[in-house]
């Protein structure tokens, strides 16, 4: 079904572009098609400090291998291009984490003041660092990493028009991607596994619902502004326990329809970056507001050296307030995040990032440390440490309290 949609999109785009290309060809001799390939191969080793909390889960070690490639063709001086980015990961323990995805397979035509992008793509919105509240186009590839920053490719037709008063983007999104979740053997999940086969939709069109979004973004002096409206399938599933012999055995996914308004603002004032993201979402089951706001301050050349130090602080708020474990709601209803980023500015691009997140209602907190450095010209070694603590039973972090782990990875870029 997905393949058929892509096919249709491709044909549509070819039909749309034909007259333009012809006109352009008449004006100038088309340059040759240029091809470029790049990518990375990574190996990753995770170590969980404590024994698993739930019976099926892996105990300490988890290894995996991933490959991502980018194939790129361009012609017409780069005004027409095709990009193809396949991805695959093999995991030693979690079957759900052994997965592949087409991150991008898209055709892009750029004109002076507009662009048409057709196919599978990634589109990021937002300004904050600890939570990406307004980022809504792509589904989260939840098994990839704990931070939710990895996304699944999304089929789309996107027209982007540049005006003096800002860039306007129209999105038609045919076909919905279901979120990926850790499997039975995987760590970083609650007591119940999310059932991949027990999925229901509010829309009778199910996964074939045509979603729509309209976004405006503009820079005025020191201010970068964005606002959008989204109408379509909620990227976050409502998860409810499904019963087997009157005991809960797994979580069932229900994807509702939603309307969402989102706003993002960044003020770049000297060494200060002030950031705000806010959404209003309405679904059949609830209406709520949520915000993520804070700042980043940079010290250039600390300790009389080349080091840059960035200090970050952000607060998350959600109008639904505290929720019981298993009930729908946000984990970040009143959370404070503090971070420090050290950039060494050396030949090896060494970097160190430390963050602490604290749930102010639950006395739960998480600590993350990320360090990375280049070796030679094309290897990157990274070390990540994640510690999750909670003393209260109704906080999700409590369900993950045995999942403290360290991760070492090596990636070769070509």
């Amino acid at each position: 079904m997905v393949a058929r949609t892509i096919m249709t999109l491709a044909i549509c785009s070819v039909l749309l572009i034909q007259p333009l290309s012809a006109r352009e060809l008449a004006g100038e001799v088309a340059s040759d098609v240029e091809f470029d390939i790049s990518g990375d191969i990574g190996i990753e080793q995770r170590y969980f400090f404590e024994e698993a909390l739930y019976p099926e889960q892996l105990n300490h070690h988890q290894s995996s291998l991933s490959v991502e490639m980018e194939l790129y063709w361009q012609w017409n001086d780069g005004n027409d291009s095709i990009i193809f980015t396949p991805f695959y990961r093999i995991d030693s323990q979690d079957d759900n984490r052994t997965h592949g995805d087409i991150r991008e397979l898209a055709y892009i035509h750029a004109s002076d003041d507009w662009e048409l992008r057709v196919g599978i793509r990634k589109e990021f919105w937002g300004v904050t660092e600890f939570q990406h509240l307004v980022d809504v186009i792509n589904q989260t590839d939840g098994v990839e990493d704990f931070d939710g920053e990895d996304k699944l490719g999304q089929q789309m037709i996107n027209l982007s028009v540049v005006n003096d008063w800002g860039i306007v983007d129209v999105f038609l999104l045919p076909g919905f991607r279901e979120r990926t979740y850790a499997g039975e053997d995987g760590r970083l999940r609650g007591p119940l596994v999310v059932d991949e086969n027990n999925v229901s939709y509010e829309s009778s069109a199910g996964q074939q619902h045509l979603d729509f979004s309209l976004r405006w973004a503009h820079s005025i002096g020191d201010y970068d502004l964005g606002a959008y409206w989204f109408h379509g399938t909620n990227r976050e599933a409502y998860l409810t326990p499904s019963l087997q012999d009157s005991t809960p055995s797994s979580l069932q996914q229900y994807y509702s329809q939603m309307e969402q308004l989102g706003v993002d603002v960044q003020a770049t004032l000297g060494d200060w970056l002030w950031k705000f993201e806010g959404i209003y979402r309405t679904t059949r089951l609830e209406d709520f507001w949520a915000t993520q706001a804070g700042f980043e301050y940079s010290f250039v050349g600390v300790f009389d050296s080349n080091l840059d130090l960035g200090l970050l602080m952000e607060h998350s708020w959600d109008s639904r307030g505290e929720v019981e474990l298993g009930a729908q709601g946000s984990l970040m209803q009143n959370d404070l995040f503090l971070g420090a980023r050290l950039a060494f500015n050396d030949m090896q691009s060494s970097e160190l990032l430390m963050g602490i997140g604290s749930d102010l209602d639950h006395h739960a907190f998480s600590v993350l440390v990320e360090a990375s450095r280049r070796f030679g010209d094309s290897f990157i070694v990274s070390f990540d440490l994640r510690l999750l603590q909670s003393n209260e039973e109704d906080d999700l972090l409590n369900a993950l309290s045995n999942d403290d782990h360290a991760q070492l990875s090596l990636a070769w870029y070509f």
Binding site: I108, F124, S219, I220, G221, V300
Partner: protein, 266 residues
């Protein structure tokens, strides 16, 4: 756009007044230093736009080397700083990263970074002028376009440098975020091309020396050096910067320097 235009004209009017006011109090050497810089800038006006490839060879004290490969697109803007798009190709892990900058002679530059892994466009602070560019011995400010308003001047001497007759001019950065107290610049008398620069750090000791070589003339007017060698006297490191594929008046316009073009820059 209209507000921006008004803002820009106010800024340029302001900077003109500043320059004009200052010139009342200028000594003969200060006036001559300023005149040389105005003439150097004047001789390089009207190039409209250009593209070029740049390779940086970073070398540390132990002789270890690392390569950076970068593509640059620039657009000349009348009565304001230039617009530029910098596209990174090497090291491979930063391939696809792109940097968009609207520079301003006096006001802070507007800068955006595109991070290809997340497909994220990030507005960044332009305060970091003194920091190293890509781990090299070039600071961000060493690579930004020359604008007369960025410095005050003092003519020091006429001097022979490797057999070329030069003006030796001292430049004092106006921006308090600059990493330098002063620069000493040697420009050849014939063509007003920069031949050598000595950089003095915030403690006023000699930090770096930059030498230009292999000047070529484009469109019978614009001189560009093929090679720039930066030596850091304090840490023993050096960076060799080589330019190739210079192309002028390629037809770039404002629409090649916005968020959309940043996202698909190659």
């Amino acid at each position: 756009m209209l507000t921006k235009k008004i803002f820009l004209s106010v800024v340029s009017a302001l900077s003109l007044t500043l320059v004009a006011n200052v010139s009342f109090a200028l000594t003969a050497d200060e006036q001559k230093g300023l005149d040389i810089s105005i003439e150097a800038k004047k001789r390089d006006l009207g190039w409209q736009d250009n593209t070029a490839d740049m390779t940086m060879l970073l070398r540390n004290k132990q002789g270890q080397e690392s390569i950076r490969e970068i593509k640059m697109k620039s657009l000349e803007v009348q009565n304001d700083g230039d617009k530029s798009l910098t596209i990174f190709n090497k090291p491979r892990d930063v391939k696809g990263t792109a940097f968009l900058s609207f520079s301003h002679p006096v006001a802070a530059d507007d800068q955006w970074l595109f991070l290809p892994a997340l497909k994220r466009v990030k507005r960044i602070s332009s305060r970091n002028k003194s920091g190293p560019f890509m781990g090299s011995e070039f600071a961000f400010e060493d690579l930004s376009s020359f604008e007369v308003e960025k410095y005050t001047y003092k003519f020091l001497a006429e001097e022979a440098l490797n057999g070329i007759e030069t003006f030796k001019v001292e430049q004092y950065p106006v921006d308090e975020n600059s990493g330098y107290t002063r620069r000493i610049v040697w420009l050849d008398i014939q063509e007003y091309r920069v031949q050598k620069v000595d950089f003095y750090d915030r403690k006023d000791s000699l930090l770096k020396t930059l030498t230009f070589s292999g000047y070529k003339q484009y469109l019978a007017k614009y001189w560009r050096a093929d090679k720039q060698e930066m030596i850091n006297h304090q840490n023993g490191k050096s960076t060799e910067l080589k330019w190739s594929n210079y192309d002028f008046k390629t037809g770039l316009s404002d629409s090649d320097f916005n968020r959309n073009s940043l996202k698909r820059a190659r």
